[in-house]
């Protein structure tokens, strides 16, 4: 029975490590003084497929708070979304979730 107990402990430790390293990556859009609000909404809709309401809320967060997290998840996808936003002319970066 002892080996079974050791195995269980090892699995628990491994699981904890996986959880600790899987913090999501955030895609952040930053405010600027010139981009029309309606353009930001159109870009969010096109890139993420969010509803009109969600896009408007995110746009207002960018406008009022200077930045908004518009997507969270795997690093590769976060990078891909960030590039799409930059290609559309928005100031965007990725960052590790705290």
């Amino acid at each position: 029975m002892k080996p079974m107990r050791r195995l269980t402990t090892e699995t628990d430790v491994t699981t904890e490590k996986i959880v600790a390293t899987e913090r999501p990556w955030n895609v952040v859009v930053w405010d600027d003084p010139v981009t029309p609000m309606s353009v930001v909404v159109v870009i969010f809709k096109r890139i993420f497929g969010y509803s009109n309401n969600k896009c408007t809320q995110l746009m207002l967060t960018v406008h009022n708070e200077g930045r908004a997290i518009v997507w969270s998840g795997q690093r590769e996808r976060a990078e891909s979304y960030c590039v799409k936003l930059q290609v559309a002319g928005l100031q965007s970066t990725i960052e590790r979730d705290e």
Partner: protein, 144 residues
């Protein structure tokens, strides 16, 4: 009001471009600058087109930066090729919007106008150019 619109979505789905010759000249200049800036590292807009993706890292993933370069160039070249067209499909209109937006942001970044105060204090000719691009973007966004 309809007569004043710069872009109109038609019933068949196409977007009609109603820019005057002067308007198309502004668009030509903006699109041309984006194409040139992507190719020329010394162009004043070049740095604005190569903003960091992950600021916590010294270098961004080269595949991502290449993708960005390719997509910006593709959009800008498509916008240039359709500059004289009366009607745009969705992909072409998206290329116009993206390229106008990049031109607008690059102008602001290159001239250090990243605050409302600096924008208000900038030379009138530059401010007029910025307002024109904003007007194009606003009108195009209404159709998309």
């Amino acid at each position: 009001m309809v007569g004043n619109k710069l872009f109109i979505r038609r019933r068949d789905g196409r977007i009609e471009v109603r820019l005057s010759d002067a308007g198309r000249a502004v668009a030509r200049e903006a699109f041309g600058h984006v194409v040139a800036a992507e190719r020329d590292p010394n162009h004043e807009w070049h740095a604005g087109l190569n903003a960091p993706i992950d600021p916590s890292s010294d270098d961004d993933d080269p595949v991502s930066t290449l993708n960005r370069q390719h997509e910006i160039s593709t959009n800008a070249e498509l916008a240039v090729m359709t500059l004289q067209d009366q009607f745009l499909n969705d992909a072409e209109a998206w290329a116009w919007l993206s390229t106008f937006q990049i031109a607008l942001r690059s102008t602001v970044v290159a001239n250090g106008l990243m605050s409302n105060e600096k924008l208000d204090a900038c030379p009138s000719e530059l401010l007029e150019y910025i307002r024109t691009l904003q007007q194009f973007l606003f009108a195009l966004a209404e159709c998309l």
